[in-house]
Amino acid sequence: MEILKYIGIGLVLLGSIFLLLGAVGIYRMPDVYNRLQAGTKATTLGAMSLILGVGFMEPEWLVKTLILVIFIGIANPLSSHVLARSAYKNNQMPIIKNGIDAYKKINDSEKSEEN
């Protein structure tokens, strides 16, 4: 049981570090997409490991925390995908240094389908 507790503390620590990095990333990154990446990727892993760590510290709650982790694993990437897609569709252009915009072709074909 002691080992489980230490694993839990380690997971909570990892999660808080990732959440902190995500917060710094939102402040530091230059455009919408980079900020989304910092804000959602970091919080997905951060929140998941934090909640799982709490579950390891209190083994009675482990099943509930696993359900929460699965929910975050489905919902958080999905919402970040939707945010990024709608930002692109509303002409929020990303900062591109090498000139490659892979989504442009797909977006144009979708637009021509709509009209």
């Binding site: 489905i74 919902a75 995908h81 709509e114």
Partner: protein
């Protein structure tokens, strides 16, 4: 003649105002600490569990002690929905409500919301069924259920809501609420009296007499109303908004 009636009415209102202010002394703390037996809060905290058989005191106050107020809140929501529907009804007549404002969403969102939708509905129903045991209740659970429908409305452009079914659910829930209240009058008590259903054991799902039934009815009503509002608001023709 009119002035005399106005003066008489003012006198009656003034008399009861002065009377009740006389009854409560100036600066008297009637909402104070539960340790002080005289206060209202102490009365509720000390007597609610025993009298209503509900573990959640807030729910007991909202649904039982202030049940009339909750009925009024539900009515306000109903009036808001009806008003919105009647304002936007004329446009629907001209065939402009066929299309939804939202654009076609990605396959990821469609699949994801198909997976998440039953769980969101389940959570909402859980919240309003357990309104007398845990935090939350009819209004919160209904709002969560409406959120699930909002997810489906955004993800699927062709997701159709049966307006007849929504109206039926809403009306039946409202009728349940009022008729349970009237049953209290029929059995010889007051409106919304909690006495004709056995109270059950404290802290179990079947406890509290009429309180969970009313909260479930409120949950269905709020869910149907908010879903109807979302559907009405999301189906205005896009060209109207752009211009």
């Amino acid at each position: 003649m009119k002035n005399i009636i106005v003066i008489a009415l003012l006198l009656v209102v003034g008399f009861y105002l002065v009377d009740s202010f006389n009854y409560i002394k100036f600066g008297d703390n009637r909402l104070g600490a539960p340790s002080d037996e005289k206060t209202v809060g102490a009365y509720y905290l000390n007597n609610t569990v025993e009298k209503t058989g509900v573990a959640n005191v807030i729910t007991a106050i909202i649904v039982n002690y202030r049940g009339f107020d909750t009925l009024g809140e539900v009515t306000v929501l109903f009036l808001a929905t009806t008003g919105l529907g009647s304002i936007l009804y004329r446009r629907r007549k001209e065939g402009e409500h066929e299309e939804r404002v939202t654009k076609e969403s990605s396959y990821l969102l469609q699949t994801g919301s198909k997976i998440l939708f039953p769980f969101v509905i389940l959570l909402g129903i859980y919240v309003f069924i357990h309104g007398h045991l845990t935090p939350g209740g009819g209004f919160q659970g209904g709002a969560i259920v409406a959120t699930g429908f909002l997810l489906m409305l955004i993800a699927y452009k062709n997701f159709k809501l049966g307006h007849n079914q929504l109206t039926w659910v809403e009306s039946l829930a409202g009728i349940t609420f009022v008729s349970i209240g009237m049953w209290g009058l029929i059995t010889g008590g007051t409106f919304l009296e909690n006495s004709f259903i056995p109270k059950g054991t404290l802290n179990s799902l079947f406890s509290g007499g009429i309180i969970p039934i009313i909260y479930i009815a409120v949950g269905f009503k709020v869910a149907a109303e908010l879903t109807g509002v979302l559907d009405i608001l999301l189906s205005i023709k896009p060209s109207k908004i752009k211009k």
